[in-house]
Amino acid sequence: MASSIAENNNEIGLTRADYFGEPTTLCKGCGHNSISNMIITACYEMNMAPEKIVKFSGIGCSSKSPAYFLSHSFGFNGLHGRMPSLASGALFGDTSLKGIGISGDGDTANIGLGQFKHLVRRNLPLVYIVENNGVYGLTKGQFSATAEKGLSLKRQGVNIYLPVDIAFEALASNATFVARSFAGDPKQLKEILKAALSHNGTAIIDIISPCVTFNNQENSVHSYSWGKGHEDPLHEIEFVPPRDEITIEDFDKGTIREVALHDGSIIVFKKLAKEYDPTNRNEAIRNLEEAVRNNWLITGLIYVNPDSKNLIEQCNLVDQPLNRLPPDYLRPPESTLEEINKKFM
């Protein structure tokens, strides 16, 4: 093997390209694509064998994305809001596999909130990523449950409901790993993904991933003028204007940062302080509460319980994969049935 090639190989002899998927069909500039890229990078850098990973998703823009990374892994694009149950069954097939689930804010916080919370309380070993943009994309721009109160969307008017905070919901359900990040902050995201892939249990990552097409405010002067300037009537929802992805420079821990989106709205990120102890659940809840009151979005690893026991570990299963068990493991001998018949006589 030529050394130049070998240099690009990771420790198991694979190149980054070996972790690619099909070309994306999401909007240009969509934050979900950068999340896919970070998953590719994290798996590549962590020397994970693609055949040892299984991908899951629900329904929505986010849930299409598992097709765009890890072509050499099995995957199942399931039902809207019901990915947790699908993964909960599938990961018992061969418990040496690692699960990555991709969901969206509608998929998780609206239709799938029940399954989400039960997944979390069972602590299935699964990295559960919410690509959170506060809006329904495939149905052309309705509010999701994570949309902030007062947000206004073109055809929906003003959102009058308070949002569901995914990190809060996860913590309330006794999550063992809760993180939040931003699709435009690849460095932090990669770190969190790696931590999540190493976690022994359900790892919830709420990733703010702005929708470049629908989550803009009709009454925003910037948005309006932007549309005018490009002669892009925003009412024409079939036309999807190409835009640059939103990125931010890395910023110091413990600081607050305002990030301007394309449409002029602002997301405030507060990075957690260096001395923050993510294993302290009380602190995690206090920080989340403080952030809600101040209209911040805290990012980073919010909570982790490194000693948790996952669902599979509690099932006392045989060592070999269940889906490879031979028939004599599955059908008890005839003598046992004779005993049972006797019992009923």
Binding site: G114, V318, I340, M345
Partner: protein, 600 residues
């Protein structure tokens, strides 16, 4: 005096829900069974934990007709609330056995009755106050043993088995039974004419319920993954799995489990986990009833399109909606047939006995794997929760069939044979059933992306009209294979027959008996019991061979008749629906009356 009636009568125990009568009733049932007499036990109970009236009926029938009868020969009245109304169900010459604390209405004087000094006997036995409500039921056990001539040693055996030999539990019960027996011997003069005599009709049989049978059949079918949500009348199926899986399916040397059982948060999740597990190569099933099946509809569509083999047991109750949660019905047939939106078809198995609950349970797992599609099994409350005499469970006579699964070696061989051409949804054999790989297969070409969206033969996303139609037409071909492997109908042929009768599931017993009543009324019938859908040639032939076919079932709309008419429109004018739904299983009398009326 009226002639003796031996081994042919119906006893109903009228009690209060939660009073602990089920132990007493099941002990009598088991003792009769142990005496070789065909018996069935049916519980008619309210959706309630404690306080409402509940009835348990034991039918004793030397000829083995064990369906529900509409009237009672013996009523054991332990509920003061129903004492004035139960008498309506008592046959002439029937006998009432009641707690002497109850005041009988005046008109009761005309009927035969025995008053039981329940309080007195319990006092004499010094029965603990805390157990009195419960032990009161043992008084009627002892009295019945004496007046019907039930073998007391068989009662003891049944009691011993019921309490797994725990003397501390057996003793107080036995004491009351013996005291009541003795009291009855010295104080009661036999005025009724019902007798039990040992015969040898049940020696090769067992006594159990359909949900236990289904659980055991699944275990012998290699079930590896069960996810479920509690719902009457299905709950005892997964609970039986939880009882027997740890006994039967642990790895010998390590004691570790070869199975997984998860109680889900709802039926959406239960079936979702099953789809996931089955997709990952585990034998997987869930058990539910109508309301749960409604919730599973979405996932069953996904499993159909993504070709995931799984088994869903629907232990039917009366719907729609919450309906009558503790009462039986065969009303989920058309729903199961059409479940989920879009074009789709599922094999449906229709066990007609507890024995078939066992057999169809292991077969269903094979059929699902062979066809790579969801299989629905329709049982019902009557079959699932009531005690039935049934032939001993027979060990599966065919090896576990996992269908077309490719592991690394087989996939490599196939790729070499076919110049690298393999796709998850490629119909290589021309039978509509592709080859599948499952997660954990380390071959580089094994993985694919499963989805409920349009896809081509290689699992790639596609909205191409030709691709969609091609894949969907190929799926239809699977039903051709299904016809070869699903259970055949059973035909009871009669050369002199003038009419045909069709039924399915738990209606088999009353229909068989109804055919006998028809014969006694000079109407000869051929009887066909459908055991699975899709309908095969034998069913079509039966329709062709008869001028008039009565389709008998326990639902309002005549759902089996509807499906037959839809599938065989040429025979529409010959098919007559005999359908009825009131929460009780059909009775032979109702069926035969209906047919007799129509036959003039």
């Amino acid at each position: 005096m009226t002639e003796k009636i031996v081994n042919d009568f119906n006893i109903t125990f009228s009690t209060i829900n939660g009073s602990g009568s089920s132990t007493a009733n099941s002990i009598i049932l088991k003792a009769l069974f142990k005496m070789g007499i065909p018996v069935s036990g049916k519980n008619v109970f309210p959706s309630n934990i404690q306080g409402l009236p509940t009835w348990y009926s034991i039918r004793v029938n030397k000829d083995g007709f064990l369906g529900r009868v509409e009237r009672d020969d013996i009523i054991v009245e332990m509920n003061p609330e129903t004492v004035t109304t139960d008498e309506d169900h008592l046959n002439d010459n029937g006998v009432l056995i009641y707690n002497d604390q109850f005041i009988l209405p005046k008109f009761y004087k005309r009927i035969l009755s025995y008053a039981l000094p329940v309080e007195k006997i319990l006092n004499e036995c010094h029965s603990p106050i805390t157990l009195r409500t419960y032990l009161a039921n043992m008084v009627y056990v002892g009295v019945l043993v004496n007046i019907l001539k039930i073998d007391l040693s068989k009662v003891n055996e049944a009691l011993d088995e019921h309490f797994n030999g725990h003397n501390s539990a057996i003793e107080p019960n036995l004491q009351v039974i013996q005291a009541s027996f003795d009291w009855s011997k010295s104080h009661l003069k036999k005025i009724d004419h019902f007798f039990i005599k040992p015969i040898i009709k049940t020696q090769e049989n067992i006594l159990t319920d359909g949900n236990t049978a289904a659980a055991l059949g699944s275990i012998y079918g290699g079930l590896q993954f069960i996810s479920w949500y509690p719902i009457t009348p299905a709950t005892s199926l997964p609970e039986s799995l939880n009882e027997y899986l740890p006994i039967l399916r642990k790895e010998k040397f390590s004691g570790k489990n070869t199975f997984v059982s998860i109680q889900a948060e709802d039926e959406l999740a239960a079936v979702g986990m099953v789809v996931g597990a089955a997709w990952a190569g585990l034998r997987a099933m869930t058990a539910t009833s109508g309301p749960g099946l409604c919730l599973m509809s979405e996932y069953l569509g996904l499993a159909y399109l993504s070709e995931v083999p799984l088994v869903v047991w629907d232990v039917q109750r009366v719907g729609p909606s919450t309906g009558l949660p503790t009462h039986t019905s065969q009303g989920d047939l058309t729903f199961s047939y059409f479940i989920s939106h879009g074009d789709k078809e599922y094999p449906i198995l229709l066990p007609g006995s507890v024995y078939e609950c066992f057999e169809f349970a292991w077969r269903a797992l094979d059929i699902a794997d062979e066809l790579q599609t969801p299989v629905i099994v329709l049982s019902d409350l009557d079959l699932g929760m009531n005690q039935w005499i049934t032939p001993k469970f027979k060990y599966p006579d065919t090896p576990i069939n996992r269908g077309k699964i490719l592991w690394e070696k087989e996939l490599q061989e196939m790729l070499e044979r076919r110049n690298g051409d393999w796709g998850r949804y490629l119909d290589i054999d021309g039978d509509g059933i592709p080859y599948r790989t499952v997660p954990g297969n380390n071959h580089l070409q094994a993985p694919y992306f499963a989805r409920g969206t349009g896809h081509d033969e290689y699992g790639r996303y596609s909205e191409n009209p030709d691709v969609w139609e091609r894949v969907h037409l190929r799926l239809q071909k699977k039903m051709g294979k299904a016809l070869q492997i699903i259970p055949n109908p059973i035909e009871d042929e009669n050369e002199k027959a003038t009419i045909g009768v069709i039924s399915f599931g738990s209606s088999d017993l009353p229909v068989t008996e109804a055919c006998q009543i028809l014969r006694q009324n000079s109407i000869q019938s051929n009887y066909l019991r459908i055991r699975a859908i899709p309908f095969n040639k034998k069913i079509q032939d039966f329709l062709e061979e008869h001028e008039k076919i009565y389709v008998v079932e326990a639902n309002r709309d005549g759902q089996m008749a509807q499906l037959l008419k839809m599938n065989f429109p040429n025979h529409n004018n010959k098919i007559l629906s005999i359908a009825h739904s009131d929460g009780l299983s059909l009775s032979a009398k109702w069926i035969s009356d209906k047919i007799l009326l129509n036959e003039g």
